[in-house]
Amino acid sequence: MIVIRGLRKNFEGKEVLKGIDLEIPDGKTTVILGPSGQGKTVLLKNIIGLYKPDSGEIIVDGVDITRLSRKRLFEIRKKFAFVFQGGALFDFLNVKENLALYLRMHLKMKEDEIERKVKEVLRVVGMSGTEHLYPEELSGGMKKRVAIARAVISSPKYILYDEPTTGLDRTNARVVNRLINRLKEKYGVTSIVVTHDIECMKTVADRVALLKEGKIIFVGLEEEVEEKHLDYLYELEEEYAV
């Protein structure tokens, strides 16, 4: 379980997170919904320790990661996987090597075992046969799916998704949404999804947190959002209407 208390973060004097309080229960998908520029990605990067908060606590399975040494933080991070908005696949490695990196560096797996694991995970995300391709040869949707495969291959407890459907057409967005649900069911992972995509929220969320101007203004079930914060959803829909 992840517990966030009084989290604050500012960049060059501009306060982006203004005291976030949020609990992420195990085995569920929590969607943090909000428009761009509200600090969603900053919040996600704080949770994994890529940013250090100015104040507040981030307690992961009973350990406050904001006070950890770099070495301990690296150990805790092994519980996490992060799916970046643009995929952030290593462009000097092909798909297989991107997926194999964690297994090779941390788990010291043998080559045949790596081969088997990579094939298995690529099958789960529907990308079989792409092992030899380089990121530049993949479409946006394919990159997202390989990024998800890279996240899941390390068998993390938590997967953090940064705008998983942004930049994708409807078909690919649906595929990614289904994949998020499938990984939760198949591997029992706890997912945190930050997005502005209402469709994504409706498809994957067990719980929803609304982020507005650096603060969580609501936490509850998806139906409750529609009941209590319909105006917020309209605003969001309007902002991103094509």
Binding site: E75, F82, A88, D91, Y102, M105
Partner: protein, 263 residues
């Protein structure tokens, strides 16, 4: 109006000064982190091997061309400037020592500062802006250990290797030009010129110490400015140019101080 202009001027100078010291501090911190990562050589052995291979393969053609022409150029200049005034073996000695001690290490390092330093900064910089550095961290891999340390180690070892190779090529091309094409000196005289005042330390200084230090500068500042890149393609371009300029200036400055200090 005058006051505002003055204030702006002093504020600007002050801000630049602070920025400079922050930059030096950050470079020092990264350098110490890079040294500390040497304890993880075995963990990052694959990345280190890749950097050695990549550095050797990408620099071999340009090193060969530069070396041949350093040999030929120094021979033409050496004979033109001194042959009428000094014994021939002395001219051979000047050509040999100027190539080994000064020309090859500095010309090669300056060219490689452009080639390796620029491409390192661009490579690491584009990784920074496309969140690949964050992705490394999220996989519990230290970017300093994964990216910087292997590059600095490869630079430190491969630049002396390339300099020794370049010096051998340069001396051979000079020897061939002098004895077989221009015929201004016999092979025996040329060799005795090379032997004249031969000091092992000088060879070590020109072939190992200087290139190793220049290798550290090139690889380190390429990585350092790459890691600091921000703001898209323009940021990568700025990182790349800054890395090349800083490396080149430091190489020239250190070339003087190392000579003054050690010779």
């Amino acid at each position: 109006m005058e006051d505002i202009r003055k204030e702006n001027f002093f504020v600007r100078i002050g801000t630049k000064g602070i920025e400079f010291f922050v930059l030096v501090y950050e470079a020092a911190v990264l350098f110490v982190e890079t040294i500390l990562q040497l304890t993880n050589i075995y963990f990052y052995r694959r990345q280190i091997a890749e950097q050695f291979y990549s550095l050797a393969v990408t620099t071999l053609p340009v090193t060969s061309i530069i070396a041949v022409f350093i040999g030929l150029g120094s021979t033409v200049q050496g004979t033109y400037q001194t042959s009428a005034l000094t014994p021939r073996y002395f001219t051979a000695n000047v050509i040999f020592k100027s190539a080994i001690l000064e020309l090859t290490p500095i010309v090669l390092s300056l060219v490689l500062a452009g080639k390796i330093g620029g491409s390192l900064a661009a490579e690491v910089g584009s990784m920074r802006i496309s969140e690949q550095i964050d992705a490394l961290e999220s996989l519990s891999l230290d970017p300093v250990g994964f990216l910087v340390m292997p590059r600095v180690l490869a630079g430190t070892i491969m630049l002396p290797v390339m300099t020794i190779y370049a010096n051998i090529i340069a001396i051979f091309s000079s020897f061939f030009m002098s004895t077989a094409i221009l015929h201004w000196i016999s092979p025996g005289e040329y060799v005795s010129g090379m032997k004249m005042g031969f000091k092992v330390f000088e060879m070590y200084f020109g072939n190992v110490i200087k290139p190793a230090i220049f290798g550290i500068i090139i690889a380190f500042f390429g990585s350092f400015f790459g890691l600091r890149a921000k703001g898209g393609a323009k940021g990568v371009g700025v990182a790349s140019t800054t890395a090349v300029v800083v490396s080149a200036v430091l190489i020239v400055i250190l070339d003087y101080f190392l000579g003054e200090l050690l010779l």
